[in-house]
């Protein structure tokens, strides 16, 4: 009964989303206040319906209702409660439903917190969101229905994929999806602005917090996913340039570019068309990332159901959304004229430089991801593009960003001098040079470049912050008082840059990692990374729906317990890595196998600075949230150009 109710409210959500789309887009031209007030109400009720549908599916998961095909295929009565809930979105149909719920959440958020927007703009934004949502809800209900019944029901479910039985799964997809889907709001703002044919500083100010919020979630989601793969997959790696990962990275790159150039629109009324294009591109990449990966076109290690019949539906939806928005862009954007002019050396130019390189990286990653299917199509050859390509192409493009990131925030708007800015950063430059020389002396040139780059970014941001606080030049109390009055946006930007620098440090540190694979008998030991690793014992340990063999390894006074878990229901063995971190170094042990000759085959890793990769991501997301709390975003600042209501349409 509950699944049927879920199915029914899902159908209601489709209808409400359609109504939201039509009323939202055409309401403003009716010049009727009732039409303008309708879209927010529709958005809220559409959100409520989508949430009820999700709750119905979660309920079916919690009570293990195996008459629902989705639950029978991906859950079982032995699965712990948490994973019966999170498993609901750990599979194709459920994850699409979660995607739709978050999209409707975006509309509800705009309806609730968009009170400072002109009513017509808010209505149009909600209209665009409603139409997109209607399309994807229709997809859910038509070809990817999570409520399909199964008769006769099996006595027990097939069980969750053991790899997904992890707390990381509980948080990674919702956070990542919020990031992906959140860019729909920036997209809707761009479309609404194109329809109205007007983009000004106020528009830049309105769109930026939405883009920033989804950027924070996307950053957090990517960091979580990378961390999750690092500690559960047991490969000792954190990024594999897999199409699914690239699908998350691409909107992050263009979204980061969008954040930066929305500042230019807000402050200087320049780069308008480019900002609109980035907003469209970011959401388009989110969409194609989520759905093309699922269509089975791209070969990925992530197992999603490959269903070509769904693929066609997806392609039509993507065509309408992306094609329609780009068509609108081609028609309306050429009339958007830039107001502000600026010199080649200025804050604006630094931000343009940032955009050029971020988009160049995005283009490279995009090409690498799509080259295999396109090469097959055009030249009939089968090939795969792997990490060596990305490492060789992305790293050189990151170097200029790192260099420019240090001095960009110190430049003035309109016209600036590079030399004084560089003089203020002599300390950061000197430190970076020392790091590089020290490491290249021991022949770690790549690691040296990376660590020097990371140090440069972190120190430059810290110096800028210290200058603003007049640290060490006025008494400490005065500096702290200045911290209180410092615009949160400036603090957030500094934190964002520091976070990126810290991640760069972590990635560079990982190139110094050492690894060994050994077979040890209990009592034997081996040397790695200056430590003695001793296998003490191998023993059995109980688990909820698995049995496990645990190896006890002592390193440097610590005991690690990597285990091999055998899931009887699926005949799958997973390796649960044991990681000990002190914040600056990970020691990482995987119990790979038990050879017939006895003992344990162990993979031991020493990862210097590895925790900094995710720690940096966290700082970046934190910086975004700090920037969101800026006063000018909290207090609905009045738009500079007040136009009479109704003159817009």
């Amino acid at each position: 009964m509950i699944p049927e109710l879920g199915h029914f409210v899902l159908a209601c959500a489709v209808a409400l989303a359609c109504a939201q789309g039509v009323v939202g887009l055409f309401g403003p031209s009716l010049r009727d206040p009732r039409a303008l007030a309708a879209a927010p109400v529709l958005a809220l009720s559409h959100f409520a319906a989508a949430v009820l549908a999700m709750l119905a599916l979660i309920w079916a998961g919690v009570v293990s209702d195996f008459t629902v095909e989705n639950i029978a295929d991906f859950s079982s009565s032995a699965v712990p409660l948490l994973y019966r809930i999170t498993g609901v979105w750990g599979n194709h149909d459920g994850s699409i439903l979660l995607w739709c719920v978050i999209l409707s959440l975006c509309g509800a958020t705009v309806a609730l917190f968009g009170g400072n927007l002109p009513a017509s703009l808010r209505s149009r934004v909600l209209g665009v969101l409603g139409l997109v949502s209607a399309g994807f809800l229709l997809f859910t209900i038509a070809v990817s229905d999570p409520f399909t019944r199964l008769w006769p029901p099996p006595t027990d479910g097939a069980g969750i994929n053991p790899i997904l039985q992890d707390p990381g799964l509980a948080f990674h997809p919702p956070v990542l999806y919020t990031g992906y889907v959140g860019f729909s709001v920036a997209f809707a703002f761009a479309i609404a602005a194109l329809i109205e044919g007007r983009i000004d500083a106020a528009w830049g100010r309105w769109v930026r917090p939405w883009a920033l919020l989804s950027w924070c979630f996307l950053t957090g989601g990517i960091a979580l996913g990378s961390w999750w793969s690092y500690y559960t997959l047991g490969w000792g790696g954190y990024w594999f340039w897999d199409p699914v990962e690239n699908a998350a990275l691409l909107p992050w790159l263009t979204g980061t570019a969008l954040l930066h150039c929305a500042i230019v629109v807000e402050k200087r009324e320049s780069l308008k068309a480019w900002t609109v294009l980035l907003a469209i591109a970011t959401f388009s990449l989110s969409l194609s990332g989520t759905f093309l990966v699922r269509s089975g076109i791209l070969n990925s290690v992530h197992s999603f159901a490959a269903a070509p019949d769904q693929g066609l539906f997806i392609l039509v939806l993507l065509g309408l959304t992306i094609g329609g928005s780009l068509l609108l862009f081609a028609i309306r954007a050429p009339v958007l004229a830039a107001a502000g002019i600026y010199a080649p050396i200025s804050r604006e130019s630094a931000l343009v430089l940032n955009n050029i390189f971020l988009c160049a990286i995005a283009a490279v990653v995009f090409t690498g991801t799509l080259y295999p299917p396109f090469a097959n199509l055009l030249f009939g050859i089968q090939l795969s593009v792997g990490a060596p390509f990305y490492n060789q192409t992305v790293l050189p493009l990151t170097a200029p960003i790192i260099l420019a990131m240090g001095c960009g925030p110190l430049l003035a708007w309109k016209r600036a001098d590079l030399l004084p800015a560089l003089q203020r950063l002599w300390l950061a430059g000197g430190a970076a040079l020392l790091v590089f020389l020290a490491l290249s002396a021991t022949r770690h040139v790549i690691a040296g470049l990376g660590l020097a780059g990371g140090a440069w970014v972190v120190l430059a941001a810290l110096i800028d912050l210290a200058d603003r606080l007049r640290l060490f030049r006025v008494p400490l109390g005065n500096s702290l008082a200045r911290l209180g009055t410092l615009p949160r946006a400036a603090l957030g930007a500094a934190l964002g840059h520091i976070g990126f620098g810290v991640s760069v440090l972590g990635i560079a540190g990982m190139t110094l990692a050492s690894q060994t694979v050994v077979v040890l008998q209990p009592g034997q030991s081996t040397q790695l990374g200056g430590y003695t690793w001793t296998l003490q014992d191998i023993h059995d340990a109980p688990g909820p729906n698995y049995t496990q063999r645990v190896a006890d390894i002592t390193v440097n006074g610590l005991t690690l317990h990597p285990s091999r878990r055998f899931f009887a229901a699926q005949h799958v063995t997973t390796n649960d890595a044991a990681i000990h971190t002190n914040g600056f170094q990970d020691i990482y042990a995987v119990f790979a196998d038990e050879p017939a000759s006895g003992g344990a085959e162990l993979r031991l890793n020493n990862h210097p600075l590895a925790p900094e990769i995710w720690f940096g991501g966290l700082i970046m997301a934190l910086g975004g949230f700090v920037s969101l709390s800026d006063r000018r975003l909290r207090v609905g600042a009045p738009s500079r150009k007040r136009k009479p209501e109704g003159a817009v349409a």
Partner: protein, 185 residues
Amino acid sequence: MSPWRRRLLFGIPLALAAAGGEAFYVILRRMQSNDYDPHALPSQLIGKRPPAFSLSGAGGMQGFANTDLAAPPKPMLVNWFASWCVPCREEAPMLAKLAASGLTIWGIAYEDDAQALAQFLTQNGNPYQRLAADADGTTAINWGVYGVPETYFIDKAGIVRWRYAGALTDEVVATQLNPLLAKYS
């Protein structure tokens, strides 16, 4: 910039997206008609003879060299496996069934240990007419082996016609191997 050039410039994103959409449409169509499998692992050996190698026997059986594969009396399979690989165990009943049906299967044990191999063959049966050991794995690199188990189909002219990476299943045999056998025997 003149207004129409500006318009043209702003149409580029649409044109690119349209081209991409069209390409994806063609790919999807080809996936539906089984012309394109994004998960296929290409082998550069298809249409060629295996590279030169000579491997000694294992498990008390006769080994073989590339010259032995030059002109087999009838189409045959070369199966790469290892005693330490779990999918190879899963594949064993299928290989036994194929061997019982009269298909010639030669095996190459990849980076395997003699004792563990003997144990594997007693547990899972021995479908191989000849069995060679690639102890250091260099022959596997020359063949472009992706991982074990992996199966190569060699026709009467000694040319590799098909490679399958992963355990052979009923579906793979029915949809891929049987048509090849019908075509080349």
